[in-house]
């Protein structure tokens, strides 16, 4: 199990998940300079949206055919919650001191967790998420669970679509302009309020896709899942250079791989025997964050500001 290809594969899959969620942090920050700490919960509700759709489908419905429907369900729930948060929680606080929206975000995060805990049927414990049956597929020396192919496909597709949107479409260009200079963007005729909603919506949609991947990977979703995943994705966004969409994905991958390698090999380092294994993986992830903040506070791609969106 502790071979390198396997660890790298595990890291990439985890990293793709972090990266997809991190897009939401970085886009919103890039445009309104707000860290939306409720984003982890927007990811979580997306998982429950997808789960709900899977429960509606008749017994024996093929999971492969169900996945597009589950994505749609997850995206609808996440985008609805994400844009409602923007409209009713953050927009009224625009122009307020930065601490106000930050505390609001934390409050919203607790609210969403508790709402799912209280009102989603049997959500007080983790709920089982549909799984692909069949043995793992052996590729390049690594065993990949069938469900993980979802993230392996979805993450690059999402990134391509986003890059196209930001660079080639009119609203994408408007988004870059709003991120660089909101007042002047208005002078161009750009409805910056709409652009901000779009940033929240895209981030939420990507989080929902990540949540489907999370469910398929872990076999369950739970009301608490957004907390640690949100923190990790936030770490990934900072790692990659907050405000930079490509940085968010890169940061996610770097973080995922670093975590996987630390889990697999830390125990082999002399004197570190007791720090191996999965129990310590969060420690290594956040230690990496501290290191980056100390040595390269702008993040890995923080310099390539031309790509910011």
């Amino acid at each position: 199990m502790n071979e390198l290809p396997q660890q790298l594969a595990n890291g990439l899959i985890l990293g793709a998940m972090y990266g997809l969620i991190a897009i939401g942090y970085t886009m919103v920050y890039g445009i309104v300079q707000l860290i939306n700490f409720a984003h982890g919960e927007i990811f979580m509700v997306g998982g429950f949206g997808a789960l709900t759709v899977s429960l509606w489908l008749p017994e024996g419905f093929s999971l492969l055919a169900a996945i597009p429907l589950m994505i749609i369900g997850g995206v609808i729930v996440s985008v609805a919650v994400g844009t409602a948060a923007e409209r009713f929680a953050y927009r009224p606080l625009r122009g307020a001191p930065r601490l106000a929206p930050l505390i609001t975000a934390i409050g919203l995060s607790i609210l969403l967790q508790q709402a799912v805990w209280k009102w989603y049927p049997e959500a007080k414990k983790d709920r089982t998420f549909p799984q692909f049956s069949g043995d793992p597929v052996h590729i390049l020396g690594a065993d990949i669970q069938r469900g993980d192919f979802f993230l392996i496909l979805a993450a690059p597709l999402c990134m391509l679509a986003l890059a196209y949107y930001v660079n080639k479409t009119r609203t994408g260009r408007g988004m870059q302009a709003t991120a660089q200079d909101p007042d002047t963007a208005k002078l161009m005729g750009i409805n910056t309020d709409r652009i901000i909603v779009m940033a929240f919506a895209i981030g939420a949609a990507f989080a929902a896709v990540a949540a489907v991947g999370y469910g398929l990977h872990n076999g369950q979703v739970g009301f608490k899942m957004g907390f640690i995943m949100g923190l990790k994705a936030f770490t990934a966004a900072v790692l990659g250079g907050i405000g930079n969409i490509y940085g968010a994905m890169l940061g996610g991958i770097v973080l995922g791989v670093a975590e996987a390698l630390a889990t697999g090999y830390m125990a082999d380092v002399p004197g570190m025997e007791q720090f191996g294994g999965g129990a310590w993986k969060d420690v290594w992830a956040f230690a990496l964050l501290i290191l980056v903040l100390l040595l390269r506070p702008q993040g890995l791609l923080g310099e390539r500001v031309a790509d910011r969106a």
Partner: protein, 238 residues
Amino acid sequence: MTTLLEVEDLKVAYGKIEAVKGISFSVEAGQVVTLIGTNGAGKTTTLRTLSGLLKPLAGKITFDGQPLHGVPAHKIVALGLAHSPEGRHIFPRLTITENLQLGAYLRDDKAGIEKDIQRAYELFPILGERRKQAAGTLSGGEQQMLAMGRALMSRPKLLMLDEPSMGLSPIMMQKIMQTISELKAQGTTILLVEQNAQAALSLADHGHVMEVGNIVLSGTGQNLLHDESVRKAYLGED
């Protein structure tokens, strides 16, 4: 001549501080009108209010026969009022071409936009040479050209230029002023805010002198240029 812009008793405040204390002026189609005055006179505040970035406290703005009260900034551009802001505010991480395209954000005629971009390159050849360069790498004067070119991309009925000569070398300043008179010759209606009173009054049909939020003196460009108090206060004569 038709009145394109009519400002009546406009008041604008930042919190409790009134920056514009009830000014009135108008711009006729085809004219160049200038607002001159020192720092803090309220010139930039006036322009930012006209383009919808600031909300007026009181007063009436009528543009092309339509009241601008309560119209958000992004819709005012669509009415034909373009604003090249103080400090240029080009989008630094986008290329020159992309900046110009953003000036045409609300337009759908691809061919027309392309033609107007070419026109901007003719007006400012240096922009054409550097079209793929990030706008943030341009010199101050080149950025000013880009800001003006970008404002023209919406094919405005009225072009508002805020301090186009600020911080430029004398040669560059001359070039910008020359471009403004070219635009005037082409029939562009311009509302020009300047600290360089000499240059602004020389090419303006009408001028208004602002001091701490009020218009204290109005007249034709030539009259103001030869007015003794203006010469003393703004043209550096004893």
